[in-house]
């Protein structure tokens, strides 16, 4: 196998992924003067970020001036059930407003408040209206804005050098299959053009992973074909570690019927704007599922809940606005108890609660989508919804300030959904888009700084490239091998049925066994057809990534004997404060098998933990930790937040 004909490029920073995180990182690296490449499996501007609907959370305080980063931090930690990396949650809450405002200077047009500021909307788990939004197409606005900013940087470069690609170049429809190392240092990335099947080698001392999530391993998912966990697997193989892989978010309200819209999400703002959930008996069942920790904030009668929409200061919120894992679990219980619809969902109704014009105004693309795709008129009839695999909280373990990957590798950075820690065991709606911007920027900045710190460029070795070529071509050499689509379906069945939303020990052990069998079969996967735009071949290559990431999820899910956020064990239904002290960290051992390790969760700084009330903390922390908390001096809870409302004011 010769490597002489492989197209080679030299860059300072290579960003894998053209979603919100990747584009923001690339902008920062380019602004730092680095030659930057952006790689994306799909066309420029089509990454998964376009699908985000609800909004981007940032405590700008435009709608309620009591909001600030401390309240946002608190909500994020609560949502993640205190397992979040506190430093990431802190940076995120502090920097999100700046990142959103910056988008306006790139040309973004958010919806406005009466006084002309960026409007912010309510969302599950956020204490104040906090999500900057554009109708229900916020993700599209975000990615288009960043895409257009990159184009404008290219225009600047063109004016200066006569070449648009002089400093920042987009390689669209290009898949990276391998990271190449020089010792422990990143030296480059290897992949293929999807169009031609030709290989490409990008030599660079710094690589930023921004490849998004893993949802394609599940049967019902909102995620597209891109989400095969490539970044997670690339990081593992390069010697980095993954954290929290047992925590997957199942969106409570994905469409389950009709099939043309199966897996498509009904944005949570439907609930924020007044949508209610009913079972097949017509009962508004969420009132039965308010967990004790949330009793104080949520209404217990339909009357109070209904009053909240118009008078949020004097009423408690409806239970439909509980964090999404609570909602998902409630729906799952209803369906399992035989109170679901035929297709295995429950009913989400806005039609009886708002006039048709309000619905079409507030949820234009939702309305449009269902009318056009499924001939369902949401202004007239309820929607059939159920839990859908949506987001992976787990990901590359990173150093919070620099986003540098932990483990043995140097020069690798990760931002966006592919990174882990920020969201703990559960992500609040809207916290992802802001996460992309905050940590995307940090990744670009620190990757650029890292390249400056090197005295010598790491070198790619020819033998590594040769073996990458062989691995990539292997499925094509086995035209009689197993059909990749069948393998993918089998994998999805294992993960959906055995490592799904509700988990049990027996099923998880079974899943691990089946994953081992699948591993042997995936090693024999075949592809027919040539190298030009061949989806069968592409899937065959993605399978090994999906498999390794699924193994991490299953292993960690088996290990964690408690229920918390996006991880529910039927055999351990309670949250256990001892487990809050533990992160589960995956790495690959010499033979390529997943190795799982327990590591301590970093302890929150005093001034941050003081933002919480003792009564709240006592539900999450061990007694020892509470004793430590009591020893800290100064005000706690709302009293520690300047300008916050006092508890007596809220009923």
């Amino acid at each position: 196998m010769t490597t002489a004909r492989i197209e080679r490029h030299h860059y300072d920073v290579v960003v894998i992924g053209a979603g919100g995180a990747g584009l923001r990182a690339a902008i920062e690296a380019r602004l730092a003067g680095k030659r930057t490449a952006i790689i994306s499996k799909s066309l420029f501007g089509k990454a998964h970020t376009v699908m985000a609907e609800g909004g981007a959370a940032a405590a700008m305080g435009n709608v309620n001036s009591r909001d600030n980063w401390m309240v946002h931090f608190r909500d994020t930690m609560r949502g993640g059930k205190f397992l979040n990396n506190f430093r990431m949650a802190e940076l995120h809450a502090k920097e999100a407003p700046e990142r959103i405002w910056e988008l306006e200077t790139y040309g973004a047009l958010f919806d406005r408040t009466k006084d002309g500021k960026i409007s912010q909307r309510n969302f599950g788990g956020h204490e104040y209206p906090r999500l900057a939004h554009v109708g229900d197409r916020t993700g599209l606005e975000l990615i288009r804005t960043l895409q257009q900013k990159i184009v404008s940087l290219q225009q600047e470069d063109f004016a200066e050098t006569g070449n648009y690609d002089a400093r920042i170049r987009v390689f669209s429809e290009t898949t990276i299959t391998e990271l190449l190392l020089d010792g422990n240092r990143v030296a480059g990335a290897f992949g293929y053009y999807r169009e031609s099947g030709e290989f490409i080698l990008l030599e660079a001392p710094a690589v930023i992973l921004a490849t998004g999530g893993v949802g394609r391993s599940y049967k019902v998912t909102s995620n597209s074909w891109e989400y095969t966990g490539d970044g997670h697997a690339l990081a593992l193989r390069a010697g980095a570690t993954l954290i929290n892989m047992e925590f997957l978010q199942f969106h409570p309200t994905g469409m389950v019927w009709p099939p043309s819209v199966k897996g498509i999400l009904v944005t949570e703002s439907v609930r924020g704007d007044g949508g209610v959930l009913r079972n097949s008996e017509g009962k508004r069942f969420m009132f039965d599922y308010v967990p004790d920790v949330f009793r104080k904030q949520y209404a217990d009668t339909e009357e109070e809940a209904d009053r909240w929409y118009n008078d949020p200061d004097n009423n408690r919120r409806p239970p439909e606005l509980l964090p999404r894992d609570e909602v998902a679990r409630a729906i799952n219980s209803e369906v399992k108890a035989g109170r679901g619809t035929k297709a295995g969902g429950v009913l989400l109704d806005v039609s009886t609660r708002m006039p048709a014009e309000t619905i079409t105004k507030r949820l234009p693309s939702m309305y449009h989508q269902f009318k056009e795709l499924a001939d369902v008129d949401i202004t007239k009839e309820p929607m059939e919804v159920g839990p859908t695999c949506h987001y992976v909280m787990g990901g590359v373990e990173v150093e919070p300030d620099s986003t540098a990957a932990m483990g043995t590798v140097e020069g690798l950075f990760a931002a966006g959904e592919v990174s882990g820690g920020m969201h703990g065991s559960n992500r609040l709606g809207g916290n992802s888009l802001s996460d992309l911007l905050v940590f995307g920027k940090r990744a670009g900045e620190h990757a650029a700084a890292y390249t400056d710190s090197l005295t010598k460029r790491p070198k790619v070795t020819t033998s590594d490239v040769e073996s990458a070529v062989l691995t990539a071509l292997a499925p094509l050499e086995r035209p009689g091998g197993e059909n990749p689509y069948t393998l993918q379906q089998d994998l999805q069945a294992v993960m959906g049925d055995l490592v799904g939303i509700i988990r049990r020990e027996g099923e998880l052990t079974d899943a691990l066994k089946r994953l081992q069998q699948l591993k042997l079969r995936v090693a024999q996967v075949g592809a027919i057809g040539g190298r030009r735009y061949n989806p069968g071949w592409h899937l065959a290559l993605d399978l090994r990534n999906m498999l390794i990431v699924s193994e991490c999820t299953a292993k960690a899910a088996l290990e964690r004997e408690e229920s918390r956020g996006g991880h529910t064990r039927e055999d351990f239904p309670q949250m256990n404060p001892q487990w809050r002290l533990i992160n589960l960290v995956c790495s690959l051992d010499g033979s390529g098998d997943v190795h799982l390790e327990r590591k301590p969760v970093p302890r929150m700084r005093d001034e941050l933990i003081q933002l919480f009330e003792r009564s709240e903390l006592s539900k999450y922390l061990t007694e020892g930790e509470i004793t430590q908390f009591d020893a800290i001096e100064g005000p706690t809870g709302d009293a520690a937040i300047p300008g916050a409302k006092s508890k007596t004011e809220a009923k």
Partner: protein, 350 residues
């Protein structure tokens, strides 16, 4: 419970190709993209097709279904007759890469040639203030999912490779309009620029682009016409040449730069002030009961110009069809021209 249905899918690459016949299972509630996925999973694992979201949000799955430019994921099977053959072909205006995948780099090149947002000097991030009514006009255009169906449909480039260099296309006219209407954009020459550098003058307001836009953006009425309106009385515009049909004489008068031939319309003042009838005036067309607009320009059996196979009625008769897509435009999308090839890198193809 599924029924077998007959599908015809164009397969091939830049060297040419054929329509291939398939019988596939179709279930209730499915869309065309579901059927393509079933084909990939059961019969043709290497059938190339772009998609991402399957929800009409990313604009990846553009194709021509029975000759109509559409999103595969938004075309319900229930819109066809039970026994209707469904013929799927690639976008016609762009060079074929493989099967249903075309080279849409034309659009990305045009995007680069459209001047970016110019932030207002002296306004700090966080200090931007705009009223909702003012941003709404531009927001309509920012709904664009870049499916490029409008670009594919526009007759200025659809069969006219030669116009591609000068013409940015409707997608980039709405981009220009969006920035023109942006309350804080600092450039004032968006209209002139669209006219002189983006080839907006070649557009003769046929509204085919509006008709195919899956986001229902009123491309012509809300973007192109307002962009043309004020430009028209300032500079030469091929449209003015058509002016005798479209514009009243008083609109043409008093413009020294106007090189349009004189016209008799309105000379007697009979038609003055009356909307002209033999062509579309600047006001919007009738919206039909189904919420769509009629396409009046060319009345063809299929939307937006003839099929890739010459004049055909769909479904196509069986037998071989030799479709010769235009040769790929090298030099427009020059991979690695910036000297990126390493010393040992002769990228000599296959």
């Amino acid at each position: 419970m599924g029924t077998k249905r007959h599908f015809r899918v164009w397969r091939g690459d830049s060297a040419g190709g054929d329509i291939e016949d398939f019988d596939v299972e179709v279930n209730e509630g499915e869309v065309v993209l579901d059927i393509i996925h079933r084909l990939q999973a059961t019969q043709t694992p290497d059938l190339a097709c772009r998609w991402n979201c399957k929800a009409g949000k990313c604009g990846s799955c553009s194709m021509e279904i029975n000759g109509k430019p559409r999103l595969g994921c938004m075309t319900r099977m229930s819109t066809f007759e039970e026994d209707e053959t469904v013929t799927i072909t690639p976008l016609r205006t762009f060079p074929v890469i493989r099967d249903l995948v075309t080279d849409v780099s034309f659009n990305y090149d045009k995007a680069r040639e459209t001047p970016a947002f110019a932030p207002p000097p002296g306004v700090a991030p966080g200090d931007y203030r705009m009223q909702q009514v003012d941003v709404e006009r531009s927001q309509e255009f920012r709904k664009c999912i870049e499916c490029f169906l409008c670009q594919n449909t526009c007759h200025v480039v659809r069969d006219h490779e030669e116009n591609k260099a000068a013409f940015s296309g409707p997608r980039y006219f709405i981009r220009a309009a969006e920035l023109d209407m942006h309350p804080l954009d600092d450039r004032t020459d968006r209209k002139e620029y669209a006219q002189s550098h983006q080839g907006m003058g070649l557009c003769n307001i046929t509204k085919c682009c509006t008709e195919v836009c899956p986001e229902h953006i009123k491309i012509t009425d809300n973007a192109i016409i307002p962009m043309k309106e004020r430009v028209v009385d300032r500079r030469y515009d091929p449209l003015v040449w058509l002016g005798r049909k479209i514009f009243r004489r008083d609109q043409l008068d008093g413009d020294g730069e106007n090189m349009a031939p004189s016209s008799s319309v309105g000379v007697t003042d009979v038609a003055k002030g009356a909307p002209f009838t033999t062509n579309r005036g600047p006001e919007g067309p009738e919206v039909r009961e189904d919420g769509r607009m009629d396409v009046t320009e060319v009345t063809l059996p299929t939307q937006g110009g003839p099929s890739p196979f010459g004049d055909q009625q769909f479904p196509l008769p069986s037998g071989r069809v030799a479709y010769q897509p235009p040769a790929p435009q090298y030099g427009v999308h020059d991979d690695g021209q910036d000297g990126d090839h390493g010393t040992d890198g002769h990228h000599q193809g296959h």
